[in-house]
Structures are given as structure tokens and as C-alpha cells.
């Protein structure tokens, strides 16, 4: 998390009062922000992909979200998908009007105008009145809240101070100042009286940290939440939320198996309750794809396909469901077709876009390994048809799989056949034991000789310091002091260059 620490200190240096542009560093942030660029390039392997032919129904998609994540998602689409950019940015702009985040409003507006210009459409004028108004309201409310908080503090009413900080945090959040939001929420800690308050605080901190991209922080607060889960009004929903957050953290740190497990455990009762972070459709998609990339066949059956709870999520995303079933029933061509259909949408997803290529690669590899498992030999032409790939490309992929020991086979490149490698256990064991025996003998001999050398006091010593040695003077002529050795190498005129020339 170096990148994140870095980010915070940078923000801190010019956090002088007025809210700044949000410094959220999520997988999908746009290119406008210099800070984000560097931290992103350090962490993500997948390059930014521009989608030109999206299959996304923007309205249906975005209606699942609320709050900041909705805006962030729209902005991501605005950045990555030129055909949808204008719609997305307009929608983001109208959503931003409901907040007080005037900095972002101005930035998004500029982006929208750039997009309009690119499309050859007339630009939209900036609503200066709203911006000014938002600035004023933000400032006034901030002053008011701070004043109130001061009063509470002088009166030392714990609960009021907590509320005061909470309100202040909410206000910062509305203004898009996440760093101060986080600080305010964290300050409530000292004024919590009930476990419930503590739980609320922990959850808020986790959520804001998630938005800030401070994942290490998120994990610690999730654990705190889980420990005090008894205090929650609705335990099921809270635990589902926590699973979602931890799933996202694991996804971001590319622990896909853990992420899959988290998403699979999310109770369906969560429904749209967490729309400010994640939609049920996302849970199905993330969970399904991560599971495909990391589970083996029996795990897939047991934990995903037979999972009654997760099946409900899958109903929301029929494509993912078909993909899972197709994979389980070894219909790989269908799977790959579905996956390529899904791909563009995933590139536009806030959390998933950085991992699409890696997860797809893993799924493909798993499919190939599974395809080959029941066979002694496989016709590469048929396999290529099943995977809808040219034979030559498949051959290279398989060679890589063999090299990484995922498949125990060899390629008959001439006849285009993949054959299981017949292991000759007997020869292997002979080879191994013989080499082991030789190795041990060498080691024992060396150790014994070393011991004799030590016993006989034949040690490497500095010959110049050791003139009193019995043979010291006599040997100096030949002693390998640094210059001596040069001499002896030179006078023997033994140069490996010469040796090798003779060999050639």
C-alpha cells in the first residue's frame, strides 16, 4: 500500500480548508488525475482499455446504483467508452447537482464539453449560479457544523459530540472531501457509548477507506465490524455488506479465490441495500467469474452451482449462469463466446476492469486443463475447434501450460496431437537414487576432507602475517597474495581462451 500512503501525504500537504477534487483511487479512475496515473501504473498490470462498441444498456445498468459509486461508474464509462460518454457524463452531472461537490461538478462539466466537442455537438454552458450556490451552502454549513461541534465540546456531551462529528463527516462526504470525511468519522470513536455506535463508526470508516482505495485500512475495520456484529440491527445485511467489502478488497489485491468465496457468501437478503457500493448483479458477476478462474470442477459444483443462495444472484445475470453451467458441462466454445460478449461490459466496470484480462486468462487456462484431463491423447484440430482458436495459437498456449506443469503431456506438433506423457517411474527412481547417492558421497567426502584440513591446521591464513609459520618464508615465493596469484596465473600462461580455442 505504498501508493496509498504516498497519496495521502500528498493530499495532506494542500488540504488547507476548501474541499478539493476527490482523490479516490479505485481501479477505474480517469486519466485526468496525475496522482492516480502513477499509482495505477504501479499496481495494475492491465492497461486501460477503450471500449468502442459497448453492449451496455446504460440506464438499466446505472439504475442499480446510488450515491458516489453511481457517479464514479458513470465517469468511468465517460472515460473509457466514447459512444456512451455524452450520456454518461450528462447523467453524472445531473447526479452531482444533488451533492455539494462543486469541484467535481466543474471537472465533469469540462469533460462533458470535451466529449461534446469531439462528437461535433454544441457545448453546454456551465451553470455558474449552481456552482456559486453550492460553494456558499457548503461553506455556510461547514461553519455551522464546526461551530455546533465546538459548543458540544465545551459542554462535554458525549453523544452530541459524536453526532456533531458524524454530521461533519456526512457533510464532507457530500462535498467530496473524503480525507476529512474519514478523519471526522474516526474522531467519533472516543465518543461512542453503545456498541452500535462503534459498529456504525467502523462500517463508515471501512466504506470511506474503500472509496479512498486504502485497502489495508478497510481490512482492519472489517475485522472490527465482524467482531461487534452482535450489536447490529440487521445482522444478515451487515454481514452481507462486510462480505461485499472484503470481496472487493480481495479482488483488488488479486486474491481471486478469496474474493470468490466472499461474494459467494453474500446473503441474497442484501438486495439493493448496498447500492451505494455494489449491486446484486455485480455480486453475481464478480463471484461467478472469480470462482471460474480459481475453483476446480468439484468446488465449482459444490460451492457455486449447488449454492441455493448464490443461485438467486445468478438469476439476475443469466449470462454468468450459463457460463458457469457451460463450463461445468465442458461446453467451452459456448463459454468463450459468452465471455467475449461479456468482456466489453466488464472493461467498463468500476472494480473489475483492471482484472478482466488476468481472470479471463485464468479461466481459459483452467478450461484447457480440464478439457484435456480425461484423455490419453487429443487431436489439436478438434481442441482448437472447441476453443475457437487457430491451431498454432493453441499450440503455443499448450506449450506454456506444459512448461508451467499444469498439463502432463507432450505435443506431437507434426501430427497435431497432444499426448499424455507416460511417466517411467522405474527409470525415474533409478535416476534419482543414483544421483542422490553420488551427491551424498561427494558431500561426505568433502566434509571429511574439510575436517582433516581443519585437524591438520591447513587453514587459509594471511601469509604475510604468518611468517613464523613453519614453511612461511619458504612458501612466500608461491604465496597467493593478490599479486602472487596474478603472477602464478600469468606464469602458467593458462588462459581459458586458449583452452577453448583448442577445443573448438
Amino acid at each position: 500500500m505504498e501508493a496509498d500512503l504516498f497519496l495521502h501525504t500528498d493530499v495532506g500537504t494542500f488540504a488547507t480548508g476548501a474541499p478539493q477534487t476527490p482523490t479516490r483511487r479505485s481501479p477505474g479512475d480517469g486519466p485526468g488525475d496525475g496522482l492516480d496515473e502513477t499509482s495505477e501504473s504501479k499496481k495494475k498490470k492491465t492497461a486501460k482499455v477503450i471500449v468502442t462498441n459497448p453492449a451496455l444498456d446504460l440506464e438499466n445498468y446505472i439504475v442499480n446504483y446510488s450515491g458516489r459509486t453511481k457517479i464514479e461508474r458513470l465517469l468511468l464509462i465517460g472515460d473509457r467508452c466514447p459512444p456512451l460518454a455524452i450520456d454518461a457524463l450528462t447523467a453524472a452531472l445531473s447526479d452531482l447537482r444533488a451533492t455539494l461537490d462543486f469541484n467535481k461538478y466543474v471537472a465533469v462539466h469540462a469533460k462533458l464539453n470535451a466529449a461534446l466537442q469531439l462528437a461535433g455537438k454544441p457545448e453546454v454552458p456551465l451553470d455558474h449560479a449552481w456552482v456559486e450556490n453550492a460553494k456558499r451552502v457548503y461553506k455556510e454549513k461547514l461553519d455551522k457544523l464546526e461551530r455546533e461541534l465546538k459548543d458540544y465540546k465545551t459542554n462535554l456531551i458525549k453523544e452530541s459530540i459524536r453526532m456533531g462529528y458524524n454530521d461533519l463527516g456526512d457533510h464532507y462526504y457530500a462535498g467530496g472531501d473524503l480525507v476529512n470525511t474519514l478523519k471526522s468519522y474516526q474522531r467519533t470513536k472516543d465518543y461512542c457509548t453503545f456498541p452500535k455506535h462503534l459498529l456504525d463508526m467502523n462500517l463508515s470508516v471501512a466504506e470511506v477507506s474503500l472509496e479512498l482505495g486504502n485497502f489495508a485500512h478497510v481490512t482492519t475495520y472489517i475485522i472490527k465490524c465482524e467482531n461487534s456484529i452482535e450489536a447490529a440491527d440487521n445482522k444478515v445485511i451487515l454481514s452481507a455488506k462486510l462480505k461485499c467489502i472484503s470481496g472487493l478488497v480481495n479482488l483488488d489485491s488479486r486474491k481471486f479465490k478469496l474474493a470468490a468465496k466472499d461474494f459467494l457468501d453474500v446473503d441474497f437478503a442484501l438486495g439493493p441495500h448496498f447500492s451505494k457500493v455494489i449491486s446484486p448483479n455485480d455480486i453475481a458477476t464478480y463471484g461467478g467469474l472469480c470462482a471460474l478462474a480459481t475453483f476446480d470442477r468439484s468446488e465449482l459444483k459444490r460451492k457455486v452451482i449447488d449454492n441455493a443462495n448464490f443461485r438467486q444472484y445468478l438469476e439476475l445475470e443469466p449470462q454468468i449462469r450459463e457460463l458457469l453451467h457451460g463450463f461445468y458441462q465442458s461446453k467451452y466454445a459456448l463459454c468463450l463466446k459468452l465471455m467475449s460478449e461479456l468482456k466489453n461490459n466488464l472493461y467498463l466496470d468500476l472494480w473489475f476492469n483492471g482484472h478482466v484480462d488476468e481472470i479471463y486468462r485464468d479461466i481459459r487456462r483452467r478450461a484447457q486443463v480440464q478439457y484435456f484431463r480425461p484423455f490419453e491423447s487429443v487431436d489439436l484440430n478438434k481442441m482448437a475447434a472447441a476453443f475457437d482458436t487457430p491451431v498454432a495459437a493453441l499450440e503455443t498456449e499448450l506449450a506454456a501450460l506444459i512448461a508451467s506443469k499444469d498439463i502432463n503431456a507432450r505435443i506431437d506438433s507434426h501430427n497435431k496431437i497432444l499426448r499424455v506423457r507416460t511417466a517411467d517411474q522405474r527409470s525415474t527412481i533409478f535416476e534419482k537414487s543414483l544421483s542422490m547417492g553420488t551427491l551424498y558421497q561427494t558431500q561426505v567426502r568433502h566434509t571429511l576432507l574439510r575436517m582433516k584440513l581443519v585437524c591438520a591446521d591447513v587453514l587459509v591464513k594471511d601469509p604475510h602475517r604468518d611468517r613464523s609459520d613453519r614453511n612461511g618464508d619458504h612458501r612466500l615465493r608461491q604465496a597467493p597474495s593478490f599479486s602472487g596469484m596474478r603472477g602464478s596465473a600469468a606464469d602458467s600462461a593458462i588462459d581459458n581462451d586458449d583452452l577453448m580455442a583448442v577445443d573448438a
Binding site: A399, I402, A403, R410, I411, D412, S413, H414, I417, R426, S427, F430, E431, S433, L434, M436, G437, T438, Y440, Q441, T442, Q443, V444, R445, H446, T447, L448, L449, R450, M451, K452, L453, V454, C455, A456, V458, L459, V460, K461, D462, D469, N471, R475, Q478, P480, S481, F482, M485, R486, S488, A489, S492, A493, I494, N496, D497, D498, L499, M500, D503
Partner: protein
């Protein structure tokens, strides 16, 4: 008895003493130390003179077996006289060959027990012998006498120590002649000549009887490693370099650093990776020194382990100057050339059949005829360059030659079929371990292992009854075991092999 003062007197005395036991020769040697020292230090006295009747005492008056000590010193005195820088060339040419012949006679017949009385003289003899042969321009002349002498001396029971223990068949002492022999073999470019000696592992070290110092040990291991490298027995070469690098002691010799460099390159050739040094290598000095002086090699090895031909080539180019300075350029170039071979070998794990073009592509021969490969193929160099313009076909041609050579060398097991423009089908190693030779080999290995186990056991017992050891253990126990580690330098040296028997026997059972 008064010291002899002329050659005739000396020979007379020697004849009288023909049947004397070794103990007598010891007192004789001590008695005449001054005279012998004069011989060795070059202030020769009458030792170079002929007999009164003008004949050479070496040709009959002295016998190498009965009068080893005297014969040795007379011979040495003559070699020194001829070897001096002031000696005119014609004199060297006239006397040199004859003296080498006498040396051969001596080496064939000398009494090893007597030789142990004057190891310094033996070493001086070896050095001057080689020097004279080299100045005659025929270093090879020195190889045979040195080999015979080395073999006879190393395996004979020493007069001082071994008399008490039962002599075993496989005992081999380190002699000062070992290193000289290896050097001679390298100079004469006859590496195989030293093999009979090198192939016998040294088991005993006795500085009293053989006058060896750590340089003898280091140089022997270093030169031995070089000989095996030249013979392309890289694994064995690694063992020798490793012995050199891991030699015990608080300081680092430059020989060890040179050996470390060569060890890295030999290891690249044998295994393709950086060598792992034994745990007991004196970490701090050796590794620190290696870091200071062998950075280029470590860098090259890391590039090598990456397996990328481009990176290896770049690293080689970057350090070529340094390799050349250290005289390791040829070895490093062998490594570079072996990359392609290693890549082909790896392909056998992945493919059953593969066309020549595909091989060329995947080992990187197709795009450009890599200059390093083209050059090192020597006689083929011209042909490869001529074909370089031909693109894919030249790559395939080159690959075909490469695969062919690898098949001949037994590095891959494959068949090349000319159908479809060249198809290579790889097969498994034909070694099935079903023949009588395997059984014999197993028997031999087991016997050797048991012998080693016995030796360890014996040593273990002899240490257990050692008075110093017992008292040290007793005092350590009385102090509650805390002081055991801080014992003297001998204590640490003894503790290391003490752990071996258990370990080793356990694995012998698993055979």
C-alpha cells in the same frame, strides 16, 4: 659420523647404508640437515659434481629405491643448477632431457617413506622439473614423472602417522606434487594425463609428512577444476572449485576468488543456475570477497537463469572485457553457446515432434544467425554467414546442424526426418536401467557408500576417545552445556562431521 664432503664419499656412505631402516634415515636426515638445506636453497656445494672416476652418480652409484634421500638431493641439486636463469641455453638443452630421465627413474622407484622425511625437497624437485621441462619447450616431459611420483607417494603409507592405524586401500594423501602435476598437465595441454591422480579423491591431509600448506590444497583444487572444465566434465569441475572456495580458514586467498568465478561459469554449464555453496563455506570473508570481485559473474549468471537469449547476450557483452581479463572469456562464451542447446533440451519436455523451423523459432535461431553462435561453431562460421541472408531456411539449416550435433553428443534423443521440410521427433532417454551394468554400478555405489560410512564411524569413535575432546565435553557438561560452542577452533571443526554419520546412515538405508 662426519658429514660427507665429496660426491664419492657421499656415494660410499650411501652404499654402506643400503639396508638401513626408515628410522635410521630419519636420524641421518636430521644429522645432515644443513647440507640438505644448502641444496634446497641453491647454495649447492659438492652435490652437482661427478664421481672421482668422472661418471654420474645418478647413473648407477646411487639407487633411487635404497638411497631415496640422497638420490633426491643429488638430482635436485643438478636440476637447480640447470634451472638457474644464468644457465646458457645449450647447457640446458644438453643436460635437461637427461635429468628428466633420471627424474623418471627416481619417481618410478623412490621409497615413499623416505620421501616423507624431506617433503620440501620433493616439492622443489617437482617445481624445478616442471620449470626445466617448460624451458625446454616441452612441458609434457614433466607430466609423466610427476604423475607417477604423485600416484606412488600419495597412496603410500606415511612414515609418521599411518604406521599406527591399519592402512586401507583407498587412502590418498594430498602431496605437494598434486598441484604441480595439474599445472604441468594444463601447460602441456594433456589434461587426461592428470586424470588417474585427479579421479582419486584426496582423503588424508598430513602437513608433517608431506609439507603441504593451504596453497597446495587450493591450487590443486583450482587446477583440478580447470582440467575437468577443459574435459567438459562440468559437474566434477564444480566439485573441485567448490572444495577450493569452501576451504576452511579465516582469510580469503585470491585462488579462492578465481575458483569462485570459474565455479559460477562451470555451474552455468552443468546446471544452468548459480551454484549453491555448502553451508560451511566461511560466509563472511568468502562471500563478501566474491561480491567485490565477481559481480560480473553473478550478474551474468542471473541473466543466464532468466533463459532469455537476448538478456544473456547483453550481459555477456557488458562483461566481456572483464571475462577476458580473468581469462574466462572462452568459458563464458561456451555458456552463451550452451543456451541454445539448453533451449532445445527444454523443448523435449514439451514436444514429441516439432519441425525444424519451429525449433529455430522457439530457440531464437530463425530471426538472425546469432553472431556468438556463428562464431563459436568455428569451421561452420563461414557457412552460417553465407546463409544468413536466407532467412527462415538458414535458421532451419542451422538448427538441423545443431540438433544433429546434440544427438551425436547424446544431449537429446531424437530423429530428424526430412519429410515435410524437416521434422524432429524426440524420444525418451534409452537408459532403462535394466542391464547388468546398472546392477554393477549400484553394487559399486553401495559398497562405496558403506566404506564411507565405516570411515565416518571410525572417525567418530576415534574422536569419542580423544582425550582433548572428552575433557572438553566433560567441562562443557559441567558448565551446563553453555560453553560447548565457544570452544577452541578445533572444537568447531570436529563438531561439523560429527553430525554426518547419523544423517548419512539414514539415507544409506533408503537405498
Amino acid at each position: 659420523m662426519a658429514p660427507p664432503s665429496s660426491m664419492t664419499e657421499l656415494c660410499q656412505a650411501a652404499r654402506d647404508l643400503s639396508a638401513a631402516p626408515p628410522e635410521f634415515w630419519r636420524t641421518y636426515y636430521v644429522h645432515n640437515t644443513k647440507t640438505f638445506n644448502d641444496v634446497r636453497s641453491g647454495t649447492i656445494g659438492f652435490f652437482t659434481s661427478a664421481l672421482r672416476d668422472g661418471s654420474d652418480p645418478l647413473s648407477g652409484a646411487l639407487r633411487p629405491d635404497d638411497h631415496s634421500l640422497i638420490y633426491l638431493h643429488v638430482l635436485l641439486a643438478r636440476l637447480i643448477a640447470v634451472d638457474g636463469t644464468a644457465t646458457p641455453v645449450h647447457q640446458l638443452a644438453a643436460n635437461g632431457p637427461r635429468l628428466i630421465m633420471y627424474a623418471m627413474t627416481f619417481m618410478n622407484h623412490f621409497n615413499p617413506v623416505h620421501a616423507c622425511l624431506a617433503p620440501e625437497a620433493m616439492e622443489a624437485l617437482g617445481n624445478h622439473l616442471l620449470s626445466v621441462a617448460a624451458r625446454l619447450g616441452k612441458a609434457v616431459l614433466a607430466v609423466l614423472p610427476l604423475k607417477v611420483g604423485c600416484a606412488r607417494w600419495a597412496t603410500a603409507a606415511s612414515a609418521t602417522t599411518v604406521t599406527t592405524t591399519t592402512p586401507a586401500m583407498d587412502i590418498t594423501y594430498l602431496t605437494p606434487l598434486h598441484a604441480i602435476l595439474c599445472k604441468a598437465a594444463l601447460l602441456a595441454n594433456t589434461p587426461t594425463a592428470a586424470l588417474p591422480v585427479l579421479d582419486r579423491d584426496v582423503t588424508e591431509v598430513d602437513p608433517e609428512a608431506f609439507g603441504i600448506t593451504y596453497q597446495d590444497h587450493l591450487l590443486y583444487c583450482y587446477y583440478g577444476g580447470m582440467i575437468y572444465t577443459q574435459l567438459k566434465q562440468h559437474t566434477r569441475a564444480m566439485q573441485f572449485f567448490e572444495l577450493c572456495v569452501s576451504a576452511p580458514g579465516p582469510h580469503v586467498s585470491l585462488i579462492m576468488i578465481e575458483a569462485h568465478r570459474k565455479l559460477i561459469l562451470a555451474s552455468l554449464l552443468a546446471t544452468g543456475a548459480l551454484p549453491t555453496l555448502p553451508k560451511y563455506t566461511s560466509e563472511a570473508p568468502v562471500l563478501r570477497a566474491a561480491k567485490m570481485y565477481s559481480n560480473a559473474y553473478v550478474d551474468f549468471a542471473q541473466a543466464y537463469a532468466s533463459g532469455s537469449a537476448a538478456r544473456i547476450d547483453a550481459s555477456y557483452r557488458a562483461h566481456e572485457q572483464e571475462f577476458r581479463q580473468h581469462g574466462n572469456r572462452g568459458l563464458a562464451r561456451q555458456c552463451v553457446e550452451a543456451v541454445t542447446r539448453r533451449a532445445v533440451q527444454r523443448l523435449t519436455d514439451t514436444y514429441l515432434t516439432l519441425s525444424l523451423q519451429d525449433i529455430a523459432k522457439s530457440v531464437g535461431l530463425a530471426t538472425d544467425a546469432t553472431p556468438s553462435t556463428a562464431n563459436t561453431t568455428g569451421s561452420n562460421g563461414g557457412g552460417a554467414n553465407a546463409n544468413a541472408g536466407g532467412g527462415a531456411t538458414s535458421g532451419a539449416d542451422q538448427t538441423e546442424r545443431l540438433v544433429l550435433r546434440m544427438i551425436q553428443d547424446g544431449q537429446v534423443f531424437a530423429k530428424i526426418s526430412s519429410r515435410d521440410g524437416g521434422m524432429v521427433s524426440f524420444r525418451d532417454a534409452p537408459q532403462r536401467y535394466t542391464d547388468a551394468a546398472t546392477t554393477r554400478r549400484l553394487d559399486r555405489e553401495i559398497a562405496q557408500a558403506m566404506m564411507l560410512a565405516n570411515r565416518v564411524l571410525k572417525m567418530d569413535r576415534s574422536i569419542a576417545v580423544n582425550k582433548d575432546f572428552a575433557s572438553k565435553i566433560a567441562s562443557a557438561e559441567s558448565r551446563g552445556g553453555s560453553g560447548g560452542h565457544g570452544a577452541g577452533p578445533g572444537g568447531i571443526g570436529i563438531m561439523v562431521p560429527m553430525q554426518m554419520p547419523g544423517d548419512y546412515l539414514m539415507d544409506a538405508d533408503a537405498f
